[in-house]
Amino acid sequence: MGRIVLNRDRCKACYLCMDACPNKVLEADTTVNALGYYPVKVNSEKQCVGCAMCAKVCPDIAIEKVYR
């Protein structure tokens, strides 16, 4: 059981986190953020394990905190 704190307005939509997440918890949002990108969002039906892989690969520190 895990949880991420995502700042959607820092995401530049590189989607490197989507590939890094073992459970495919992250997906592209359908509305743009403050920067004009389609940021990632958490799919609440998928289970986050709190591995922090998404945070490790994020070049923009959009994933600010990970809890497990």
Binding site: G2, R3, R10, K12, A13, C14, Y15, L16, D19, A20, Y37, G50, A52, M53, A55, K56, V57, C58, P59, D60, I61, I63, E64, K65, V66, Y67, R68
Partner: protein
């Protein structure tokens, strides 16, 4: 009870601004440097030297004092800062054009003198900030805005292998080449960056890490395709590994 397992490093400002393009490895590399400063507990006595290139805005995100250097002169500036304030931890954060082209004189001489500083070099095989011209590390056959038919060694010579060159200098204490294209590679890169700082902290000489990095914008690739290129093309020519490690020898 829920436990915090990751949070933004303290060595990144709270109101940080990251001006790199989407998916650029510069962001991952800079964050690793910040994580290492946190882990070594040296943030408050660290002075960073920002270079000219996409790393020029280092003062927008590193939560340490930063001196901006002219293009290529980061290691000369670092020398001055460290010699006048030897109790400080000093690092440079440079592109490969900055460190291995216009600044190669400063690089070779500071590392031959064994300045007790740490140098981090982002090798993306191009001049990123100025729009993707050929640089010292541009691969043979690589198309850039100044090698429109691919780099031809008859005209533009060969790519410089930075680690292979710097490991020969007697003043270097740690020399490694890493990539940040997978979570495993990122963890390995962090270990090497830490050793490059330990080389300085233990007074052994210069610590150096070359990071094989992407420039998705000028390579005209997605960040994912760019990481494939790091693995399939760059790492074949620029072999990742630890080239010199006086830190472990001293332990």
């Amino acid at each position: 009870m829920e436990q915090l397992v990751y949070s933004k490093p303290e060595s990144i400002k709270d109101d940080f601004k990251i001006s790199f393009c989407p998916g650029c490895d510069h962001g991952i590399a800079a964050k690793l440097v910040a994580e290492v400063l946190d882990e070594l507990n040296v943030r408050e006595k660290t002075i960073g030297i920002a270079s000219v290139g996409c790393s020029v805005f280092s003062y927008d995100f590193f939560n340490v004092d930063i001196v901006e250097s002219p293009h290529g002169r980061s290691l000369a500036v670092a020398t001055g800062v460290k010699r006048s304030k030897p109790d400080k931890v000093v690092f440079t954060y440079q592109g490969d054009g900055d460190l291995a082209s216009i600044g190669i004189g400063e690089t070779i001489h500071s590392m031959t003198r064994g300045e007790k500083v740490t140098a981090i070099c982002i090798n993306n095989t191009t001049y990123g900030m100025t729009g993707g011209q050929a640089g010292p590390t541009t691969l043979l056959g690589q198309i850039t805005t100044t090698t429109t038919k691919g780099r031809d060694p008859e005209i533009a010579g060969y790519p410089i292998k930075i680690c292979e060159l710097l490991k020969e200098l007697e003043g270097t204490a740690f020399v490694a080449r890493v990539s940040v294209d997978t979570p495993a590679a990122i963890m390995n890169a962090k270990k090497c960056i830490k050793k490059a700082f330990e080389a300085q902290l233990k007074g052994l000489g210069t610590g150096f890490v070359e990071i094989l990095a992407t420039c998705p914008t000028n390579w005209k690739m997605t960040p994912q395709e760019a990481h494939e290129r790091v693995r399939n093309e760059m790492a074949q020519v620029f072999k990742p590994g630890i080239y010199k490690d006086k830190v472990s020898e001293a332990e």
